[in-house]
Amino acid sequence: MATSIFGSGIRRREDPRLITGAATYTDDLSLPDMVHAAMLRSPHAHARITRIDTSRAKKAPGVVAVFAGAEIDALQAMPCAWLLPNSNLKVATYRCGACDVVRYVGDIVGVVVAETPYQAQDALELVDVDYEPLPVVTDPVSANKPGAPQLHPDVPNNEAFHWTVGGGDIDAAFKNAELVVKERIVQQRLIPNAMEPRAALAQWKGASGELTLWNTTQNPHILRFLCSVVTGVSEDKLRVIAPEVGGGFGSKIAAYPADFITVFCARKLNRPVKWTESRRENYQATTHGRDHVQEIELAAKKDGTILGLRATVWAGMGAYLSTAAPGIPTILHGLMLSGVYKLPALKEDVHGVYTNTTPVEAYRGAGRPEATFMIERMMDKLAAELKMDPAELRLKNMIPRFENGHSVVTGLSYDSGDYPAGLKKLLAHVKYQELRKEQADARKKGRYLGIGLATYVEICGLGPSQVAGAIGFQGGLWESAIVRFHPTGKVHVFIGASPHGQGEETTFAQIVASEIGVDVGDVKVFHGDTDVTPMGWGTYGSRTTAVGGAALVFATRKVKEKAKIIAAHLLEAAVEDIEYGDGKFAVKGSPDKAKTIQEIALMAHVAWNMPKDVEAGLEASMFYDPPNFTFPYGSHLAVVEVDTETGQVDLKRYVALDDCGPQINPVIVEGQVHGGVVQGVGQALWEEAVYDENGQLLTGSMVDYALPRADLLPNIEVLSTVTPSPHHPLGLKGIGEAGTIASTAAVYNAVLDAVAPLGVKTLQMPMTPERVWRAMQQAQGRA
């Protein structure tokens, strides 16, 4: 082909329907006889329920039913699906509806079902609940201390787990250290803010005992299984559909009590029931991210060689363990702590702690931003201590280029990488030395510019199922694809993964088109319906392309093998003599003797003249379990200016260099980097979920919780290098989370670099004007 469809920045086919409002989300659906549910949620962060009286609500106009307490207890408890081994994990009972004690503001106490959503909302105010307040604890360090308010009777010190990771001789590292730098970092709690709030629509067909659940999920097959466990509807009679899903960022991985209560109501009432959360409810009850307090020490030699890293982390888990929560601050975090560096020794202790807050789950990057921030913050701190350039220190300690496996201190084997090449390309692009000179000149004029670097490597493409089992993940981590040709040569692709904004309807069509010579417009990708698509484990952890994409490649290649056999038969040649090129299956040496895939598809379907023992039709499926994770990486650089009069930070420039292997569609890659970077910048500068001492969420809406805005951001410059993964058929690694993983640290390092000449040694995120201003005042001895 003259221009390859693989690597072409064609437009996303998803966009016209999304941009014009033609997409169908769960809340857009309406069924005959449908009623509306509203969840009654606890206004207390910790309290004993002493009385519930639903009688007034039951009499309210339009109300169909009210269920509370024991009435919804027919549902099984919420399962935790990541049972961390060797961690003394204590999964506290997580009821769909709290019967005795509520443990965070937003814990469900009951449900009202009415003819209209307005009536359901009105009737909520008529349910009388008496609460006896209990003591509240919201931060993980306090909650982990003896004598702290106890959330669950069988979990001393609220410790959900204590997990450790280590390698090398950590004691020797610190004994031999010529200097040790220490830091305490708070990775504040964040609210994922998917554009579409969560919603569920449940339809019970009493006659056949079948249930359909439309839901805002990133992983419909996992939800089908969990729904079966909690509601008792058997898996074969349960259909889960993820219609258009408006982003998730990890918050739509988990299964939620509200979804199962909606199912419960539909069964009880034998009417379709829809529930859609409000934005305020989304803030209170849809999972949050991060919430780490980290104490870190880095041992080094005076020449900058790093020797060992020791850390203790308190990870706030919220009131209950969400579906995949235990794996986030542990497996996806601690195992990546050595980053891109030759770190000989490591020890990290992670305490997962229950607090009277919304449960925490994966949030874009999920554990890896928290790890990257730690090591990248410490590298800058060490550089400052040694008066060494931070870029030079990083280059000195980086793992050199490797193509097929490199074992690190945590026991992982990275797939491939050339970390120094990426950083050097970034530095050359920004003319780093000139940039530093510009910074020095500006300082002479009283302007405080800061330059911040962050390098990262992430673990993506989750992952080999055997490893999933070993690390306690209660499922597999393979992916699946079916490639089905129709008689006219058009193709339907069915995948187990469930994209919700990432663009795989486009990129997966590009994969098929590039593998087998059909027009990209002739390939349609289906996903998100358990009755239509093959089993898959879902879209998260930048795994859809890395794992699902590989499954698709192999399924397409199976079709190609069959096509070759049919072509050989039709062309009266030996199969070994057929070669594929440019969309045609031709006899070697006789390019005129050829069949297109479209001709073969037609012949395979009419089946007038099939080779002996070859089935009619043209389709193949593949269940692909990867041999290892993938490890995308990169280096990012931020330039900021701090207004020393007010403490305001202006992000002036942002350059991202990422290596996700070959790019199917560079425009989509760029979009993923932009979105990811922006979310990471949000953590550095604006976003924080704040609870008061009573466990009330003070940042309860978009009026108080500051999301990134376009006018506060520069154009993001996107660069790349290409280092294929040795174990993916196309070398692909994944790009969904990269931006978020690097950008928080890059921006933090830049702001601190700007104000370091004023004596500021540390800053607290988000770096709001007041916080930066106070840090400057304090450093200058004025506070």
């Binding site: 009105d122 009069e645 007010t646 604006w686 940042t699 978009m702 108080d704 004007p769």
Partner: protein, 294 residues
């Protein structure tokens, strides 16, 4: 987010709006809906009835006559921000209107609804205070004119009576040698003013002959920075005289400085002079270039 139940009436004229307000006690006027509807959806307000005045033609549009700018209460922020007449005659107001919310809010939200809501962090009350605006309304006692220093009475409170309909807002057009500005420390989430400063300065041969400065955002209702005004009037407008005058603003803030989890009262009080300085500098530059042009 579902509002509680309410009755809805649409008024065809100002007189009918007044009658409906009388007929349905507790009813609220609905104009652009960008303050009221969010309150309803959050269930922070539950009026029994809304009287929609949004389609009353006589309440719309702005006109300049005899050195006065008359603005109908239903004029949207977008209309104010994009009006070339207003930009020429009253640049501080056009500038403030361009800072309100986001494009969607500016396209629907109205000046009348904004000032009647009297959110302390809103932009227009501050600039209208600096401009000495006159607020005209019609109520049971007939027509009424209220000046800005009387109109804004406190947090979410105005001098409008329960059955009054705000009809017009009048401000003086810019005089020769006058320059106006509005600068804003924007709250990154709400887009409201953490600190908003409006300044109207007259310069003759580089000297400040008059200055009006108003602050909003950090106080329950807009306040005049009279200490700053006194300090700058009669001075040559230089960076030093401006900075020194701006430094006096703490005396004008009173005891009730607002704070929140984003910016404490102490911080706002301490950095207020910086924002006053910036507003004054901008207004002075404009005044001097105006004077040069005349």
């Amino acid at each position: 987010m579902y509002a509680p139940e309410f009755d809805y009436y649409r008024a065809k004229s100002i007189a009918e709006a007044g009658e409906l307000l009388k007929k349905y006690p507790g009813a609220k006027l609905l104009a652009g809906g960008h303050s009221l509807i969010p309150l309803l959806k959050l269930r922070l307000a539950s009026p029994p009835a809304l009287v929609d005045i949004g389609r009353i033609g006589e309440l719309k549009g702005l006109a300049v006559k005899d050195g006065k700018v008359r603005i109908g209460a239903l004029t949207t922020h977008a209309e104010l921000a994009s009006s070339t007449e207003l930009r020429a005659q009253c640049p501080a107001l056009a500038e403030a209107a361009s800072h309100v919310g986001d494009p969607a809010v500016r396209n629907r939200g109205t000046i009348g609804g904004n000032v009647a809501h009297a959110d302390p962090a809103s932009d227009l009350p501050t600039v209208l205070t600096a401009l000495g605006a006159r607020f005209e309304s019609i109520g049971p006692g007939g027509k009424k004119t209220i000046t800005a220093d009387q109109f804004f009475q406190g947090m979410m409170a105005t001098a409008l009576g329960e059955h009054d309909v705000l009809t017009d807002i009048e401000v003086a057009a810019q005089a020769a040698g006058q320059g106006g500005s509005y600068v804003k420390f924007v709250h990154p989430a709400s887009r409201y003013a953490v600190i908003g400063v409006a300044a109207i300065v007259t310069a003759v041969a580089g000297n400040c002959t008059s200055a009006v400065i108003a602050l909003g955002g950090l106080v329950p209702r807009p306040v005049r920075a009279s200490s700053v005004e006194k300090a700058i009037i009669g001075q040559t407008l230089t960076p030093d005289t401006i900075a020194s005058a701006a430094g006096r603003v703490s005396a004008d803030l009173g005891d009730e400085v607002l704070g929140d989890i984003f910016a404490s009262a102490e911080y706002r009080r301490t950095v207020a002079p910086v924002w006053v300085k910036r507003a004054l500098t901008k207004a002075a530059e404009r005044a001097m270039s105006q004077a040069a042009a005349v």
